[in-house]
Amino acid sequence: MDYEPVIGLEIHVELSTRSKMFCGCRVEFGGEPNTRTCPVCLAHPGALPVMNRQAIRYLGRIALALDCRIPERSIFHRKNYFYPDLPKGYQISQYDQPFAVEGGLSVNVDGETATVGIERVHMEEDTAKNIHAGVSGRIAGSLYSLIDFNRSGTPLVEIVTKPHIHSPQAARSFLNRLKNTLQFLDVSDCNMEEGSLRCDANVSVRTVGDQELGVKTELKNMNSFRYIEKGLSQEIERQINMLENGERIVQQTVHFDVVTGEISPLRSKEEAHDYRYFPEPDLVPLVAAADFIAEIRGEMPELPADRARRYVSEHGLPEYDARVLTSDRELSDYYEESVSLYGDAKTVSNWIMGELLAYLNNAGVTAGECRVTPTALVELLGMVKSGDISANIGKEVFTGMCETGESATAIVQRKGLTQISDTDELESLIKQVIEENPSQVEQYRAGKEKVIGFFVGQVMKRTGGRANPQVVNRLLKERLAE
């Protein structure tokens, strides 16, 4: 029997506002535990929340970028449950009147573009951080937990997709695209290691052609897209095996162990959720009037697709270059800065897509972390353009710059890599080469012009690649014609 996986994703994004959602405590990552708290985010009796305007603006940006409909009125609800990381005993969230609904994000999967529907985008607050004491550091089997409330009340946006995703690979592509969009929007650093972007995945399988959805399980809090893809593959396989063996799938949360690659059930005791949502009386409704939306629209940063179009129409780049350069916010910013300093967009693009990307992939660093800044790259490009060094030497210098952080000028001077264009110096070398290789000279003069390459190679060898190839070619042809 042929099975079809059905996947829906829930993504939580911590916004990079300066202060928390409902109080003025600073939003930062890490630091000394329990130093960024106040009566509001510690839930002291009588403390009242007040909404952060900037967080709602960021929420608006996300909703617009995901092509959502923004109803004029949305309200906040209390989601009631007991958990130590939730001091109030409820999380302020949105329920049946979320900020935005019915959007979509188009994704490229296997060369085809498909739109993944967005069910809703809503605002809520993050919980505190638990540190589980015990052998494994995992919640199960820990003896007790320690709570750090610095994160409590950080603005958190939840994005829920429709179950429109049909493979683990497509889930990963969607997440990459979403993360890229969020980074261009300047609303979150999307740092998965630090938990500013987190993802839960709901997955079920059904026989191909079936309209009904199967029983789903949930993979929670996956902290890398690669693990989400792997975990989903594993869970889909497990579900198919169960169905093949005539077993029933139970709706539950499962844990994917990234080390063993195994799936195990989690929190089975806590599955009976009854959150008793009711309107949050401490917060008045949020009205997204036309002028408020227009204001947010006016502040929208340029999205990757728009940047790509501009690179083609204004910079004259091929579409392929434009797509690669806008696949990552830092890379795109790197390119923009380099072009503004250097001018020649295609040359900049070639170096970034070739040398820089190769280095970044190898070293596992981002464009923003690279030691070679756009200014440093542009200095190198200037040296190649002026003929101080050849393009090939330039590549070697670039590698050196990445490794040592030195400037192009410093490396060229230290290693003596300046290109030799000086005719006198080259003339004497060419003379030697011609004298030492009479048979090749004969071949050339007999009409075998390809032999010129041999001579160029010889000159290059003697100069350590520093000879200016154009000059060498010209001089060689002159001498050989004599």
Partner: protein, 95 residues
Amino acid sequence: MVNHDDVRYVAGLAKLKLAEEELDRYAVQLSTILNHINKIAELDLDGVEPTSHVLKLTNVFREDEPQSSISQEAALANGPEVEGNAFRVPAIVRK
């Protein structure tokens, strides 16, 4: 009419332990409250939007300006159990 199972369920959600005789008492009290609320259903409410808030206010915001927090010592002073720089709570998932 609220029965004993309903009371037990609601008490469980609120992490309350009730004695047998309390089940009777709360079943009656909760029923009275629900009956009172159900009175509203006797009215003709066609075209009346549910009221989520009684105030006419909307969009009450604060600007995104960080304010000073309370000290770590003051924060932890309210914890029944504290270890080092954090609140300490019993094991979250029991085996």
